[in-house]
């Protein structure tokens, strides 16, 4: 059918040329992916969610985007400073507007443009506290100070919680947290998972060999490196971490630098040591065994419990949470990447590359990796879904998330206190569900698109 259409539409030659040009695996996979309606739609939903997350402060903000007040124009939502001085042109009095607590909705401004949702997630609307439902009666204090029914523009579209915080605003800002947790933690996990999986699959147990001397020299070097970069600098690092600033990155950088310098020194030293007779015996580094065992151990501990245990001793912060989730969730990625690399390292083109004398490093990164990423990608998509689920479970339990942060899970948890406030349960849960489903569908679509062998 399609071919016929193409022919009738004309120029067959051009068509084949395009086809020739486009015959890369990437375009093939993209075409396959597009055919999968559910996956394609979830891709679009995901794009929408990302836009929502990026624009969250513009979409839901109690500070107006633009105000013209007594002849002055300003943009509170974009402002870095928290104070604006306004001089009354008639009386000459100076009025100081504190941006985050000013009552913008009752301000006598000449013109004012609000964000679509006129509330911020953490700000209480005291008039509408104690669980006001989305369809229920909402109150508003107008400019004359009278309490009237809520104007449609300022409605709490999805109701409020006990403290009168807007649920929709919380949901929009929660998108930000959930997506960034998912993406960053999986970023860490995929770095770990892909590199470890690739190493395990490519080197196996018997490909990476070295002399006995250089092996033990390197191990000793590791101890020294660890000593000089971390043990000796414990207090420097600890104080930098406690001071909460960029200094921790600086100190960490120095530590890593020291580590790198010492290990490389010992690496070259080891080459020399390896020439001595007793130390020149070849030993195999059982990369695959080590990494596979590590994975085995990690998956035998219930993930959520492990994360709760680590969160119990770490300070509650989003950054910590991302790191914890990332460091505990790389196993699936590693396992799939390992399997793929096991397959790839036996293929002819890798053998050919090896026979030309390319370095292992180059073979892995230039030749094997581009080919072996596909299963990892699938695992990453599923992993993001899992990470979002973990984050929302944790914030639902109130574990590891700073208490003032509004997330989907914490909103849902608030609904548990008052069952009549169904909107606090339904909407955040729906948001989690949709996001998780989108990523899962995406993962399925990717798997079908990237792995032609699965096709019937």
């Amino acid at each position: 059918m399609k071919e016929q259409e193409e022919v009738t539409n004309g120029t067959v030659a051009v068509e084949t040329e395009v086809a020739k040009k486009d015959f890369s695996f990437r375009s093939y996979a993209w075409k396959q992916f597009k055919k999968n309606k559910a996956a394609y739609w979830s891709y679009k939903v995901l794009l929408f969610l990302i836009v929502l997350a990026l624009l969250a402060p513009l979409l839901a903000n109690d500070m107006p985007l633009y105000v013209r007040y007594k002849g002055y124009s300003f943009f509170p939502a974009f402002s870095f400073s928290n104070k604006i001085e306004v001089k009354d042109p008639e009386t000459g009095n100076i009025e100081i507007l504190q941006l985050d607590i000013a009552d913008w909705k009752r301000l006598d401004a000449e013109s004012i443009i609000f964000a679509p949702i006129v509330y911020s997630p953490n700000k209480s609307d005291l008039l509408n506290a104690e669980y006001v439902s989305p369809g229920g009666e909402q109150l508003f204090k107008n400019k004359e100070g009278e309490t009237v029914a809520m104007p449609t523009r300022f409605r709490h579209w999805l109701g409020t919680n006990k403290r009168g915080e807007d649920v929709l605003a919380g949901l929009i800002h929660g998108t930000r947290i959930s997506l960034s947790i998912g993406i960053f933690s999986m970023g860490i996990a995929s770095l770990l998972g892909i590199s470890l999986g690739a190493m395990a699959g490519y080197f196996g147990d018997r490909r990476l060999s070295t002399t006995r001397g250089s092996f033990w020299t390197f191990v000793i070097g590791l101890i020294f490196a660890f000593y000089y970069s971390f043990i000796m600098r414990t207090y420097k690092l600890g104080d930098a971490l406690a001071s909460s600033g960029v200094s921790i990155f600086f100190e960490l950088f120095i530590s890593l630098l020291i580590f790198a310098v010492i290990t490389t020194t010992f690496y070259f030293l080891g080459k020399k040591v390896g020439k001595i007779k007793f130390f020149s015996k070849q030993v195999f580094i059982r990369v695959d065994s080590i990494i596979s065992r590590t994975i085995e151990i990690l998956i035998s501990i219930p993930n959520l419990l492990l994360i709760i245990s680590i969160a119990a001793v770490a300070r509650p912060s989003m950054l910590n949470l991302m790191m914890i989730i990332g460091l505990t969730n790389w196993t699936n990625i590693a396992r799939l990447t390992r399997a793929e690399f096991l397959r790839i390292q036996n293929l002819d083109y890798i053998q050919a590359a090896r026979s030309t004398g390319l370095s292992e490093f180059k073979i892995i990164f230039r030749h094997a990796l581009p080919n072996g990423l596909a299963p990892g990608f699938v695992a990453i998509a599923f992993g993001v879904a899992a990470a979002i689920l973990i984050e929302s479970s944790l914030s639902f339990l109130g574990v590891g998330v700073p208490p003032e942060t509004v997330t989907w899970g914490s909103l849902l948890n608030a609904g548990r206190e008052q069952f009549s406030a169904w909107w606090l349960v339904i909407f955040p849960g729906l948001a989690i569900f949709v996001t998780v489903t989108v990523y899962n569908l995406l993962g399925e679509g990717l798997r079908d698109a990237l792995d032609p062998r699965l096709k019937k």
């Binding site: 993930n303 419990l305 492990l306 548990r416 349960v425 849960g429 569900f433």
Partner: protein, 498 residues
């Protein structure tokens, strides 16, 4: 076969060791001093900055009981400048202050002298009771206030390590001591302490920090935690703990009870829900998966696929909350009780086991639904995929070609082989059920390990958290072992004799 199982168990041991290490590392890094919490929580009050003799004794006792007077691990890497006895210093803050001083000056000989003289000074200040005749002429409250301040400053000095702060504290102390003539007898000792500190500064030997040194300890906290404080193999002569290998997980920071007792009372419900839910989901998911695969592309297949996929993505805490909100809510439908596993008043005394089960049944239905549905979705999908794979094989085509009825082909020939993957995933479902219990037990207030974990988390009861982590890790390993062995039993193609 037996050899395979033995080998499998041998692999099991290092994995278990790593899990205990992991738990231990986490617990060592726990913030705060447990002793401080346990003792001051018991009896707060008293003068500022002072500790009663009773309190000190209690602290000593608890330090010994929890094994905190031991070094942490079998070995430690420190510097030449560091003494290998620093762990014996009583107070966590003082220990850190000393360690930081060593880190800065590198001369333990001088630092220890400084610290000893400071300790002596502190003890003499603490023991000082002003003679009533001496303070007659002064304002009594002011005198007591000043003495308290002296005591407080002296205590604070012991855990201070910044140079400026130490100097400031010395100045402040000597100012305070100058207030009243009867305090002036402390000036000389204070000056002595100060000299010692200046000595430390003068004779710094920071080069010692650059030379690493390894210390080895046969008795340490990890060893004690795993093997108890008696004989490591037989457990004889143990005083406070028999060790992990004899299922002694230490003492709860909150109730001060043995953790084993607490967990023993809780693990039943957790295991009940986890195991029963796995069994239930196997029972439901196998027919669903087989049917979907047998009629691939049919309406049943398509709808069940979609439904299962949705179920798979549904967060269990959401469903649990919605279920509670709908079916355990007096305002909507009140079919089930909202929390617990039995009536608040307990079972009636005459109730038999069957009666008790009947009483508990309505409590268990909602949690069971939540426990089951997610693994059910996962299992059905796995079953379907493996069944489809099997149906595509040649021997099934042969079976069909020779005219066997479809029913027989599916259930007799295909089904058995397609069971294999589903057996292996048991090992994945079980930890998921145990981990999921944290959320579901909290929502339904089921008195199990998961709920206990969250309770422990809220109370910084680290030994409990680590105990739960270790136990679940252990149970999961057992799950893996069982599924591996089952796999070998079911599939004769797999030989493990290698």
């Amino acid at each position: 076969m037996l050899r395979y199982i033995l080998r499998r168990i041998l692999i099991f041991i290092p994995t278990l060791i790593v899990i205990t290490l992991l738990g231990f590392i986490i617990s060592v890094n726990a913030p705060g001093d447990p002793i401080e919490r346990m003792v001051t929580a018991a009896q707060s009050g008293g003068e500022v900055g002072t500790q009663t003799i009773n309190q000190i004794e209690q602290k000593k006792f608890w330090r010994k009981k929890l094994g905190l007077d031991l070094p942490i691990f079998y070995f430690s890497i420190s510097s030449l400048s560091r003494p290998d006895t620093l762990y014996k210093v009583f107070d966590k803050n003082e220990r850190e202050a000393l360690d930081r001083l060593v880190d800065r000056y590198g001369n333990w000989e001088y630092i220890s002298e400084y610290f000893l003289s400071l300790n002596n000074f502190y003890n003499s200040v603490i023991g000082f009771k002003p003679d009533t005749t001496l303070i007659k002429e002064y304002d009594q409250n002011a005198v007591i206030e000043t003495i308290n301040q002296v005591k407080f400053e002296a205590l604070a000095l012991k855990s201070t390590y910044q140079h400026n702060m130490i100097e400031a504290k010395f100045t402040k102390l000597s100012l305070l001591l100058a207030y009243y003539p009867f305090l002036s007898k402390f000036q000389a000792p204070l000056g002595n302490v100060h000299y010692k500190y200046i000595d430390v500064e003068k004779n710094s030997s920071t080069w010692k920090n650059y030379i690493p040194k390894m210390n080895f300890y046969a008795k340490n906290q990890y060893h004690r935690w795993v093997f108890g404080d008696g004989n490591w193999l037989t457990g004889e002569g143990s005083q406070f703990t028999k060790g992990l290998i004899r299922f002694d997980f230490g003492t709860s920071y909150v109730t001060k009870q043995p953790i084993t007792d607490v967990i023993g009372a809780k693990i039943g419900w957790s295991m009940f829900f986890a195991l029963l839910s796995v069994v239930l989901s196997y029972f439901v998911s196998i027919p669903v998966g087989v049917k979907a695969a047998a009629k691939r592309g049919s309406r049943f297949d398509r709808t069940s696929s979609i439904v299962l996929f949705m179920l798979y993505s549904l967060p269990s805490f959401w469903i649990a909350t919605i279920l509670l909100m709908t079916f355990a809510n007096p305002d909507v439908i009140h079919w089930f009780p909202a929390s617990g596993v039995k009536p608040a008043t307990g079972y009636p005394e005459t109730a038999s086991l069957l009666d008790r089960m009947l009483i508990s049944l309505p409590y268990c239905i909602l949690p069971m639904i939540c426990y089951t549905y997610s693994s059910f979705a996962f299992l059905s999908r796995t079953m379907r995929v493996s069944m489809i794979e099997i149906i595509g094989q040649d021997y099934i085509r042969t079976a069909r070609a020779k005219g066997l009825p479809e029913n027989k082909v599916i259930w007799k020939h295909a089904f058995r082989n397609s069971l294999l993957p589903i057996i292996t995933v048991f090992a994945h479902i079980f930890p998921a059920a145990m981990g999921g219990s944290v959320i579901l037990e909290t929502i339904f207030t089921i008195p199990g390990m998961g709920y206990e974990t969250i309770f422990a988390f809220q109370n910084n009861n680290y030994p409990m958290i680590i105990a739960v982590l270790t136990i679940t890790g252990f149970l999961t390993l057992v799950g893996y072992l069982i599924s591996d062995v089952l796999y070998a039993v079911v599939d004769p193609r797999i030989s493990f004799s290698r």
